[in-house]
């Protein structure tokens, strides 16, 4: 069973289009994340949701809009795609213990290429 899954795995689209990436976790975690990995492999958090509530919103263009219909799903919608949006987008999930221990588990990634 895949713990954190994402669809699609690959996404090739034209500039200006709108696209969505979906993420689902079956780990029972209450927190989910979106990360962007650029061409130099640098990983940066974009958003974090805890029990459907947005708790981290990094400096991301408002063309990016996350949506969490329930705590097992976190989708990412991107409007008016630009060339610079080309990257690999990773979803992750975690569950923090009362002692503050927390491990994030990552999905397989969505490779987005904007032409």
């Amino acid at each position: 069973d895949t713990a954190v899954s994402q669809t699609p795995k690959y996404l090739v689209t034209q500039m200006g289009n709108d696209k969505s990436i979906k993420c689902e976790q079956n780990l029972g975690h209450d927190t989910m994340y979106w990360y962007k990995q650029d061409s130099k492999k640098f990983l940066k958090i974009m958003f974090s949701y805890n029990n459907k509530e947005l708790i981290i919103n990094e400096t991301v263009p408002n063309r990016f809009s996350p949506k969490s219909p329930d705590k097992a799903h976190l989708n990412l919608h991107i409007n008016s795609l630009e060339l610079g949006d080309s990257a690999v987008y990773f979803c992750a999930s975690s569950q923090r213990t009362s002692g503050g221990q927390e491990t994030q588990y990552f999905g397989p990634g969505t490779r987005l290429l904007v032409l």
Binding site: Y33, K40, K41, F42, L43, K44, I45, S48, I55, I56, E58, F90, R96, G99, G100, Q101, E102, T103, Q104, Y105, F106, G107, P108, G109
Partner: protein, 114 residues
């Protein structure tokens, strides 16, 4: 805010060589520490983690890491690497409380020559 430094950007080793990848972090309080590995074209997988207790932690595939609090370091080691260890390795830190974020280092690319 916390930050993570991985000084080795690209490491090239022959099979059976010993490996040590450096990781230093800056944060004034308690942190959770992680090493993730990303094989070519794949997602991040957890190699090992440190929360508390014994500062020498063992992970999967023969990897281990040592937390040295006085040096703010969490270096990754493996006594004898294999060709299949070729991958990108990321150190990450996460303060345990509040709405803190997992902060990654810039990664170290490891290439093992058969």
């Amino acid at each position: 805010a916390q930050s993570v430094s991985q000084h080795n950007h690209h490491v090239i080793l022959s099979e059976a060589a010993s490996l040590e990848l450096g990781c230093n972090y800056s944060y004034g309080g308690t942190v959770n520490l992680f090493w993730y590995v990303q094989y070519p074209g794949q997602h991040l997988q957890l190699l090992l983690k440190y929360f508390s207790g014994d500062p020498l932690v063992k992970g999967i595939k023969g990897f281990e890491a040592e937390f040295i609090k006085s040096k703010f370091s969490f270096n990754l080691r493996k006594p004898s690497v294999q060709w299949s260890d070729t991958a990108e390795y990321f150190c990450a830190v996460l303060p345990p409380f509040g709405n803190e974020k997992l902060t990654f280092g810039t990664g170290t690319r490891l290439t093992i020559i058969p």
